[in-house]
């Protein structure tokens, strides 16, 4: 008995330390690789060219939780939601041809929003490539501009190394989506699997630029001599897991800080130095004062046109310090005075060490004055409307009170997105999941499903417009089948609201095809076995939100809001941030 145990132990130890050599199919090797990479959830949809992988998955279903979505676009958005809340790489499976092309929107979205994904697509047999075979499409060339990296595997022996590279590239440096296309013969082919080693180096790839201390020094000098310094931060702080370091920097320097839409939540909404949101529908103060600060410290953000407004009138008076991990972002849109290349988790603490402890009370008060004006002219009415009909803002206000700012808020694209991001309270990082760069309608429902799988212990509330919901509502089927607990709030204004707002303001109210009809959403939800409720009276709002949050399982709440409300403030296209309108 005893000797047996010892040999067993020895046997196990050697198995763990020495690479295992066993005959596996390409499909099995892929799944072994995913397990070593720590993957627990896969979002996918089977089809002809990926059948060998699905066949292998049948035996791995205890270790890998495969979520069957209703459309590959839903699968990839779910993968994005998962990545955004968990901080891990989202994994998506799709078949060749239409399965692969249905990933395109999600890949473009993940590429522009730097979301780490590894997508595996099946492909026709290698000998059929280029023959216009059934469900053959040139997915590598289609996805080249919208992936950080992609690669076609035609031989099973390549799989361990390629998957290792895929995960390393997806999550390191500035993260992004990777697509691996595997031909069916490679999925079937047996080969001697020598174990899986994660990748940590590719000679042609430098995920992090080397930090140059002289630039940190120069940046600190600028900050220490500034009278009106202003921090603007983006998702880079979250992607770099540098929230703690960032908070320490903000607090020591005493500088007011504003966020881009994807940066929301890196420091809590009610932090005294958090002065609000930047951009086209951001807050009044941060936009106007961008053109009054003397030193602009941009951290992990890329000066998107929705943030800068008219570029030749953007922060021209300011010296710009730009911290970014991606050298291609430096000087791309806004010329920097001091470029700080590097991972902000390293560069921010270096900067914190060199900046003087300060309090910019008077300057911070300037922001507060603008906030008072904005509250007076915009926010108060939005959150406490005098109209009979409800506003989007008041729904968010009540939601804040009930979730206390601890929920993950997933939004779609349009007016409700701007309102939700403006007014939602975020106590924690990785709480705001939205399609920022690409502006993908239909993102929210599948992303919310993924977000919940990525943060199972948290409440996930999807805020969606009536238009966007109809783009991917088939994913209610995924909710039904998995039983995932997602709260869905549809803010129904019976319009494609943001386009309508522009048509009202800039196209003389020529409402061209923005009048959208919707089905009875509650009945649709009911068809999927999801509880729901539709309200149009203010008196029902708080109770219904409570009911939704308390409900055991998913719940769809449709709230009818004012038809023709506009989101303000607004920096009209082609205007400088200082020309922001309050009405």
């Amino acid at each position: 008995m005893e000797t047996q145990t010892i040999t067993q132990e020895i046997g196990e130890t050697t198995a763990a330390t020495q690479p295992v050599s066993k005959e596996l199919s390409g499909s099995e090797a892929l799944l072994e690789a995913l397990i070593v990479e720590g993957v627990d959830t896969i979002f996918g949809y089977p089809g002809g060219a990926i059948m060998p992988i699905y066949d292998a998955l049948y035996d791995y279903s205890e270790k890998l939780n495969h979520i069957l979505v209703r459309h590959e676009q839903g699968g990839i958005h779910a993968g994005q939601g998962y990545a955004r809340t968990s901080g891990k790489v989202g994994v998506v499976f799709a078949t060749s041809g239409p399965g692969a092309t249905n990933l395109v929107t999600g890949l473009a979205d993940a590429q522009i929003d730097s979301t780490p994904l590894v997508c595996i697509t099946g492909q026709v047999f290698a000998h059929l490539l280029g023959t216009d075979a059934f469900q053959e499409t040139d997915v590598i060339n289609i996805t080249t501009p919208i992936t950080k990296w992609n690669y076609q595997v035609t031989d099973a022996t390549e799989i361990p190394e390629v998957i290792a590279k895929a995960f390393y590239i997806a999550r390191s440096g500035r993260p992004g989506p990777v697509l691996i296309d595997i031909t069916k013969n490679a999925q079937i082919q047996k080969f001697q699997f020598e174990g899986y080693t994660p990748c940590n180096h590719i000679r042609s790839y430098r995920p992090k630029p080397i930090v140059r201390p002289q630039y940190i020094q120069q940046a600190a000098e600028l900050i220490n001599n500034a009278k009106k310094p202003f921090i603007i931060w983006g998702q880079g702080v979250i992607l770099g897991s540098a929230e703690k370091e960032f908070k320490a920097f903000v607090e020591k320097s005493g500088i007011p800080a504003a966020w881009t839409i994807l940066g929301a939540g890196a420091i809590p909404t009610d932090h005294p130095q958090n002065v609000g949101m930047l951009g086209m529908h951001g807050n009044y103060g941060p936009n106007v004062l961008t053109n009054e600060c003397d030193v602009l410290i941009a951290i992990g953000m890329r000066f998107d046109d929705r943030v800068t407004g008219r570029l030749d009138k953007y922060a021209k008076q300011a010296k710009v310090i730009h911290l970014d991990i991606d050298p291609a972002e430096i000087d791309k849109n806004v010329k920097s005075t001091v470029p700080v290349w590097g991972d902000c988790k390293e560069t921010i603490p270096m900067l914190t060490q060199l900046v003087e402890q300060r309090q910019h009370t008077e300057w911070l008060n300037t922001f507060n004055e603008y906030t008072r004006k904005e509250v007076e002219q915009v926010i108060h009415e939005e959150l406490n409307p005098s109209t009979e009909e409800m506003t989007m803002g008041e729904v968010i206000k009540h939601l804040n009170e009930l979730t206390n700012g601890d929920a993950v808020i997933v939004t779609d694209v349009g007016q409700h997105q701007m309102v939700a991001c403006r007014y939602a309270k975020f106590n924690n990082t990785r709480s705001n999941v939205t399609s920022g760069g690409l502006g993908t309608m239909g993102f929210a429902l599948p992303a919310a499903i993924g977000a919940k799988f990525g943060a199972q212990q948290r409440d996930v509330v999807a805020i969606i417009g009536d238009g966007g919901f109809q783009m991917t509502l088939q994913e209610l089927g995924t909710i039904m089948q998995t039983g995932v607990n997602v709260k869905i709030v549809i803010l129904n204004n019976r319009f494609l609201g943001m386009v309508r707002q522009w048509q009202e303001l800039f196209n003389q109210r020529r409402y061209s095809f923005v009048d959208i009809q919707s089905p009875d959403f509650v009945t649709v939800a009911k068809g999927y076995g999801i509880a729901g409720k539709s309200i149009s009276d203010r008196s029902e709002l708080e109770g219904s939100l409570k009911e939704m949050l308390a409900h055991d399982g998913s719940f769809l709440l449709e709230v009818f809001v004012t038809k023709e409300n506009n989101v303000f403030p607004m920096v009209p296209q082609g205007c400088s941030v200082a020309e922001i309108r309050l009405k």
């Binding site: 080249t144 076609q152 000679r203 042609s204």
Partner: protein
């Protein structure tokens, strides 16, 4: 064979050092040898609606590393942004850009002319010699000449041969050697190390005088 005068500064377009003015730039890209990379690099230009004047790709002196020579006419600002976008690609090792003054460059041209004409007209042979052309193939029906040089030089020979019945003409992409990149070969070799030195991996662009590009 002697080869004409080295690239002199006459080929430098006006606007050098004038910031926004467009001129020819030679972009040198060192990459891994991988299928699809040509497309990945090409779309960086096409996405921005920038025309590639000339593109040459070939193995470099180091096994498995390829070298692209790309010529475009743009302002330095645009070129700098493009090079960063190219360098961002996973399989790209290094990117440099140079004005024509900073490189020695050549294009190869082939001319097919009727052998009878050359045999009959002594002047043609003289003209070809004067223009540094060299016969590569001589057949009964036609002769193929080769000439290397700058665009205007190979263009000039077309004009000269046209009256004598030029049958076919083809020109290669430009290849260029960086004047100031002394020791680049050793830098390139250093990429094979797991942790190359700072100087090698920094995002530098070898400008005139081999100055490290700093922002």
């Amino acid at each position: 064979m002697e080869n004409k005068n080295q690239a002199n500064n006459t080929s430098l377009s006006p606007g050098e050092g004038q910031g926004e003015a467009k001129q020819e730039f030679n972009i040198t890209v060192y990459t891994e040898n991988q299928i699809g990379l040509l497309n990945r690099i090409a779309i960086i230009f096409t996405r921005r609606k920038i025309n590639i004047d000339s593109l040459n790709t070939s193995p470099s002196e180091i096994d498995s590393i390829h070298r692209f020579n790309i010529v475009i006419t743009e302002s330095e600002e645009v070129v700098r942004k493009l090079t960063r976008q190219i360098e961002k690609q996973v399989e790209v090792l290094k990117v440099y850009y140079h004005t024509n003054a900073d490189v020695v460059w050549q294009e190869l041209a082939l001319y097919k002319v009727s052998t009878d004409v050359i045999a009959e007209k002594v002047s043609v042979e003289r003209l070809l010699r004067e223009n540094g052309a060299r016969a590569v193939t001589i057949r009964k029906d036609y002769t193929v000449f080769e000439a290397t040089g700058h665009r205007e030089e190979t263009d000039n020979l077309i004009k000269i041969l046209q009256p004598y019945g030029l049958i076919e003409f083809v020109r290669s992409a430009r290849v260029a050697i960086i004047k100031d990149s002394e020791g680049f070969n050793s830098k390139l070799r250093e990429f094979e190390r797991l942790e190359p030195g700072e100087e090698v991996i920094e995002n530098e662009y070898l400008n005139q005088g081999q100055k490290v590009f700093t922002m």
